[in-house]
Symmetry: C2
Subunit: 419 residues, 2 copies
């Protein structure tokens, strides 16, 4: 079964909001084996909505609209679907009663505009919306479903999950699609692809690379007649990828690098403290985004000024004077200083030039030194990152997390000098 | 002039990535008076790309594609445009030379796949891409432009800005669209809308609210025959909005709240230090995202553990024992302690429960105390934020930045007790 998605809203065409709904729904449809070969976005214009619906129904086995179901004059999805069905709009008494009760509970009367949301083409069923005022619509033309859902994600996602996806899944015969993402760090996309070249040529399951900032993802997607069969195909492909690139894989699916680090630290029973200069708190922020990170993350210092590098971390004034704040010795002193002063098993020190200003020929924007210290030893890496200020900050924290991850896995940071 | 946007990529249809490019381009086209009535997304399928292009050219005055220009077998945009033009693909020698030089500089040969990126339909011009390997394409059919740009945003956006938008703007006659966003904090969307109700009804310029996490935006959009006239209409509307809600406006267009804070601090010649517990470095990170923040931001402490609240900030052990880490006295001691120990004019202390665990009936998830301290006084605010862990962290930093902004504007934080 294939469907097309029609996103409706002039605010989309003006670029005022990004269509995350369509991406979310596309992913959910793929999971239940419903193919999407085209998505269309049109504005709040009755004729253009009708045109998009008719074209979609001519190509696909069904159409799902998102948006345009609210109470205002700009909300024209109901009218357009009625026109496509050649049906009149009638008031759904149940939905009208629900709307009146909704507004009565808020001390207001449901006005005529609000009650428009209870209109439906005569053959359509309303789809319950417990999170908002506008119900969805479920209709069929020549056996092809026409589904309409409201645009606010907190209404749209539950409606899709609870009502629309199960209904579509029940219509699809077999063909199940499952996928799994393997997440890699410390290796470039092209290097990784080169080592997986033959696997990337596979047709089912497929293996597709996706370059992300500071990491590389490979998505394995299997099409099969049952979930079990699809999972088995994925497992076989995953084993092969891990056999070749396992040293660069830190997690799967939604596992972030900071989650992998926190989980490794918890497993090792080791604590962490960080000292940040150019990354300005981003490393601590990423780590503390992980629920449960307080079990291993004690805290950190953002030593933006040289004075604080001295007073909070004990970086010697001579080191700063002789080598500068952005230098191997300063990163080393920061990592060791934060370990000792804040009392962690692991200490990280980052100093660099995030830009846009502050660069020089010897120390250009993007130059970052990252020190990792454990009770036995300290390793400092020099990196030159490309990008704007926030990108350089992110890449620096990504590299620091990767060093930490490999260090914890290896039982100490001595091994990092070989990375 | 109207154009349609065709986004190309199976990863879009599988929902693996969100199409931010199309929204960004739509907004830029609106600004130069080019209308977009439809956007289409298709996968990496030659026939479907051709179909989408032909349909778009039948409806609109031009078409812009995004994606599918890379070196892999899945990148089929060049082939599809050649088919629509009924033209052969030829190797663009300049682009081929550039690619060979690019790879030579990296110690590699440009292989055949990489050189595919230098192919173009014989009548098409390559559009320079200084940020990646694949050039864009500019062709025309029956006088209608067919523009192709690569998908990576760091390649796509500069190419659109430097080459494509100026070229399209030169083709458009009059009707210019300009817009300006006013950014508000410390006021809810519905309260703000209630005070601007009559203005929101205006047809030209329009005034449209947009709720963002922790702030509210109002976009003024004017349609006029000249840029000057449009700017004048916007200025008139802006004055009216500022007359009513000026106290809540911190900036316009892309100005973030952290930028407004840093600019205010620079103007006041005052420095800032921060102590974070539940926000875990996010406040420092947001501030240090602003170029030039090092002029006023000295540094901060992420005191995740109670031991570090005592040792780094001097929060009394009795305060922690008697009131707990999440309390008004602790936030006060953190703000005052970080001011004194790190030596800033302003000190901020944040302590709370970001979740998902750690809540209790008396101190639920989302409870946050935010202290702001200046040389004269300290004000602590208690807030209960809704959302998941990262949302609560963000809302807490947003509120802290808003307090700082208002405090710096007022010349001291004594005024904050009235907020």
């Amino acid at each position: 079964m294939t469907v097309e998605i029609v996103s409706i809203g002039t605010e989309l065409l003006l670029g005022q909001i990004v269509d995350t709904n369509a991406a979310w729904l596309s992913a959910r449809l793929a999971e239940i084996g419903v193919g999407v070969y085209r998505r269309t976005t049109v504005g709040d214009n009755r004729e253009r909505i009708i045109g998009a619906l008719q074209e979609a129904l001519a190509r696909a086995d069904g159409v799902i609209t998102i948006g345009g179901l609210g109470p205002t004059d700009d909300d024209l999805t109901r009218e357009a679907i009625a026109a496509v069905l050649h049906e009149p709009l009638v008031l759904d008494e149940n939905e009208a009663a629900r709307l009146r009760a909704f507004f009565a509970a808020r001390g207001r009367d449901a006005n005529e505009r609000q009650l428009r949301q209870a209109l439906r083409p005569i053959s359509a069923l309303p789809i319950p919306n417990p999170n908002g005022t506008a119900p969805g619509l479920y209709a069929e033309r020549d056996g092809k479903p026409i589904v309409a859902m409201p645009g606010p994600p907190n209404e749209f996602q539950p409606m899709a999950t609870d009502h629309v996806l199960p209904r579509l899944a029940a219509r699809t015969g077999g063909r199940v699609i499952r996928s799994r993402v393997l997440r890699l760090c410390g290796i470039g996309e092209s290097d990784a692809e080169a080592q997986l070249h033959d696997l990337i040529a596979s047709e089912n399951p497929t293996l597709a690379p996706l370059a992300k900032l500071g990491e590389v993802h490979f998505r394995i997607t299997a099409r099969a007649d049952s979930p079990e069969q699809a999972e088995q195909m994925i497992a076989t492909m995953e084993r092969e990828v891990r056999a070749r690139l396992g040293a660069s894989i830190f997690g799967a699916d939604d596992t972030t690098l900071e989650q992998a680090v926190v989980q490794s630290l918890i497993a090792a029973g080791q604590s962490l403290v960080v000292a940040e200069s150019c990354t300005g708190g981003l490393l601590a922020n990423r780590i503390t985004n992980v629920p449960g990170s307080s079990e291993v993350f004690l805290g950190g210092v953002v030593s933006y000024s040289n004075a604080l590098k001295e007073s909070l971390l004990g970086v010697p004034a001579e080191t700063l004077a002789q080598y500068g704040a952005v230098s191997e010795p300063t990163a080393r002193a920061m990592a060791e200083g934060v370990r000792q002063r804040l009392g962690g098993w692991w200490g990280v020190g980052i100093t660099g030039i995030a830009g846009s200003g502050g660069g020089s020929p010897e120390k250009p924007v993007g130059l970052v030194y990252i020190g990792v210290s454990d009770p036995d030893t300290t390793v400092v890496k020099r990196q030159l990152f490309a990008g704007d200020r926030q990108t350089i900050k992110y890449r620096a924290t990504q590299y620091a997390l990767w060093l930490l991850y490999k260090g914890v896995q290896a039982g100490g940071c001595g091994s990092l000098s070989r990375l």
